[in-house]
């Protein structure tokens, strides 16, 4: 058991190191740092000085080491596009993304799970069939199309909700929140629906299929053979057994939400990390790309490792279909 934990944590470090390597290679060799950071009228001498200052002629390992060390401090250099420290940029944008993800995740959970349970228990009902079809449309519709439709209906035609920006935010130390103002909350509604919708339908389908699997098991049959009430069988037994893999996948989905936020933030011009990343990819602003990569990978590795470790405690026999949680077609 201990061996497993140690191995898993070691694995996590290995992955982070690999990610850091990729990020570093991007950082250093994609585009020319000197070109990108020099001013328009820099002289050859200026460039040589810049080169030395950035340590670009040091051995690879030294540069990599420096990169990793800086990374652990959160220092990823200067953005090519903004000429500002990447760290500051990320810190500004992080609260926006996290708040969005939080609301979307809650929405997905609170709506998706009950609907999934309902469709599992009443598979032939009219409402269930409708939900099944709707959910299929939900995961087939590109997320940005959903966002655009939402904007069309609620912003353009009805003019109820804003379609870009965060509204007014309140500064709480280094965190800015949109929860405390009316306009902030209004601005949150459409983007979080868009972000949460995909996960909600995914969750609903997952709960449904898991629960239907569970309802076919021998222990459910035996429970019925003992004359337990439907409520006991469905909720006491079936639901409890369903929720464990579901909760896990949901936990893994949380990480995915952060990635999908890229799209949502682009559609709604939401000033979060995802939007920053897209702008960076378009501009080939490598420091920001590298920083985002490392940060998001860190979040993922932490989530995945925690889930694996948690499972080692609950039931090592249970495996989780990680691919399905991340939008891979497994």
């Amino acid at each position: 058991m201990l061996a497993f934990i140690v191995r898993r944590i070691f694995q996590a470090f290995a992955v982070m190191l690999a990610v850091a390597l990729i990020a570093f290679v991007m950082f250093r060799y994609l585009g020319d740092p000197v070109d990108s950071l020099s001013l328009e009228d820099a002289t050859a001498q200026d460039r040589i000085e810049l080169r030395q200052r950035l340590g670009l002629d040091d051995p690879f390992v030294v540069q990599f080491g420096r990169f990793v060390y800086n990374a652990t401090q959160g220092d990823f250099g200067t953005s090519y596009r903004n000429r500002r420290p990447v760290k500051a940029l990320l810190a500004e944008r992080l609260p926006a993304t996290l708040e969005l993800v939080l609301v979307a995740a809650t929405l997905a959970l609170v709506v998706g799970v009950p609907l999934g349970v309902y469709t599992a228990l009443n598979p032939r009902g009219a409402f269930s069939q409708f939900l099944q079809m709707a959910s299929l449309i939900g995961i087939s519709l590109p997320t940005f199309v959903t966002g655009i439709l939402l904007i069309l209906v609620f912003s353009v035609y009805l003019n109820w909700l804003p379609s870009f920006g965060r509204g007014d935010t309140v500064d709480l130390g280094w965190w800015t929140t949109g929860f405390l103002t009316i306009s902030g909350i209004k601005a949150l509604i459409l983007p979080s629906i868009m972000l949460g919708l995909f996960q909600m339908t995914l969750l609903m389908r997952l709960v449904r299929s898991e629960m239907m699997e569970v309802l076919r098991t021998d222990y459910i049959k035996f429970a019925r053979a003992r004359g337990l009430t439907d409520r006991a069988v469905h909720f006491g037994h079936a639901l409890k057994n369903t929720m464990i893999p579901v909760i896990t996948i949901f936990g893994l989905q949380l990480g995915g939400l952060i990635a999908f936020a890229i799209i949502t933030e682009t559609v709604f011009q939401w000033p979060g990390m995802g939007f920053l990343f897209i702008q960076a990819v378009n501009f080939i602003d490598v420091p920001v790309m590298a920083a985002y990569l490392v940060l998001v990978s860190l979040i993922f590795v932490v989530i995945n490792t925690s889930v694996d470790l948690l499972y080692a405690f609950i039931d090592p026999r249970l495996r989780v279909d990680r691919g399905a949680a991340n939008g891979h077609s497994s």
């Binding site: 098991t217 021998d218 222990y219 049959k221 035996f222 429970a223 019925r224 053979a225 003992r226 004359g227 337990l228 009430t229 439907d230 006991a232 006491g236 037994h237 409890k240 057994n241 464990i244 039931d315």
Partner: protein, 324 residues
């Protein structure tokens, strides 16, 4: 009056190739406290008969005809909620695989208490105490400690004992045991069967013991019903059926039991194999494999007729009866 009587039970499965008849005109009775063995090859319809009796036939299978009467009361057409009250409380069931029969997320004690509280009038505290007693009854050592253990902490044999405890905890009058020992080690099988037999005698519980293992039947059952391709071919006292198996199929089954101590004769083998439900022959369903087949057998289907000590469905015996 018999505790359970089954009349002309017919279980069908509508499929796209037509209607499959899995249980065809089966009738038998089970008296209070008796052990009725139901024996036959896999696919003969034994398990489905049991499922129909306890009301757990899975759709699209359904009871197409017949009546099932428990203690004078008809139960095959009861609404779900009424049937639910009977399950566990009057009719219990034990299934084949003890590992998958128990919910891995609940302790053994929790599952026992839940079942008892559903059917019996007790307080949770009383139920908890009874749970420990039940575990002791089925032979689980250190029951007061084990009652808080999870199913995966028990071995296969122990788990099946827990399953038996669960089936008996609400004091049913009848238990349907569907291949209760098939998934267990041979060394454990005998113990479990003995346990089941003892407990049922003590509690006065009748048992329908479904199995393909004639040896188990010989050890445990009072009467035996032999099924073939969904139909009953012979019913009778165990001793008699074993000694003088009359129906050609039963005869073949008995002959195929290796008996220790006997001379090394060749095991009797029945030619061919049981037909699939989609290809049941006309007339007597056994006729393609029967060593005593006559022309009539191919066209006429034998009815189950009474004879001394039991019943048999074979045209040759009908002739005998008539000629007697």
């Amino acid at each position: 009056m018999a505790l359970l009587s089954v009349h002309n039970l017919r279980v069908e499965f509508p499929t796209r190739r037509g209607i499959l008849v899995a249980v065809d005109d089966v009738s038998f009775e089970v008296a209070e406290g008796e052990v009725l063995g139901v024996v036959g090859e896999s696919g003969a319809g034994k398990s489905l008969t049991g499922a129909a009796i306890i009301g757990l036939l899975e759709p699209p299978g359904r009871i197409a005809d017949g009546r099932i009467i428990l203690d004078g009361r008809r139960i095959d057409d009861l609404p779900y909620e009424e049937m639910r009250k009977i399950r566990g409380n009057e009719i219990g069931a034990i299934f084949q695989d003890p590992l998958t029969s128990l919910n891995p997320l609940y302790t053994v004690g929790e599952q026992l208490v839940e079942t008892m509280l559903t059917h019996l009038d007790m307080t949770p505290a009383q139920a908890a105490k009874r749970a420990v007693e039940l575990l002791a009854e089925v032979g689980i050592p250190a029951p007061e400690r084990r009652v808080d253990h999870y199913p995966h902490q028990f071995s296969g044999g122990m788990r099946q004992r827990v399953v038996i405890a669960l089936a008996l905890c609400a004091n049913p009058r009848l238990i349907i045991a569907d291949e209760p020992t098939t998934a267990l080690d041979v060394s454990i099988q005998a113990q479990i069967i003995a346990l089941l037999k003892r407990l049922c005698r003590e509690h006065g519980t009748a048992v329908i013991l479904v199995t393909h293992d004639m040896g188990v039947i010989a050890e445990t059952a009072d009467r035996v019903a032999v099924m073939y391709a969904g139909r009953l071919v012979e019913v009778g006292e165990v001793r008699q059926v074993i000694k003088e198996a009359c129906h050609p199929y039963t005869h073949g089954l008995m002959g195929s039991i290796p008996v220790a101590g006997h001379d090394a004769e060749r095991l009797v083998q029945i030619e061919g194999s049981m037909p699939r439900l989609t290809d049941i022959p006309n007339g007597c369903s056994f006729h393609p494999r029967c060593p005593n087949v006559v022309d009539r057998c191919r066209a006429e289907r034998p009815e189950l007729i009474k004879r001394t000590g039991g019943e048999i469905a074979c045209l040759l015996f009908e002739d005998e009866q008539e000629n007697a």
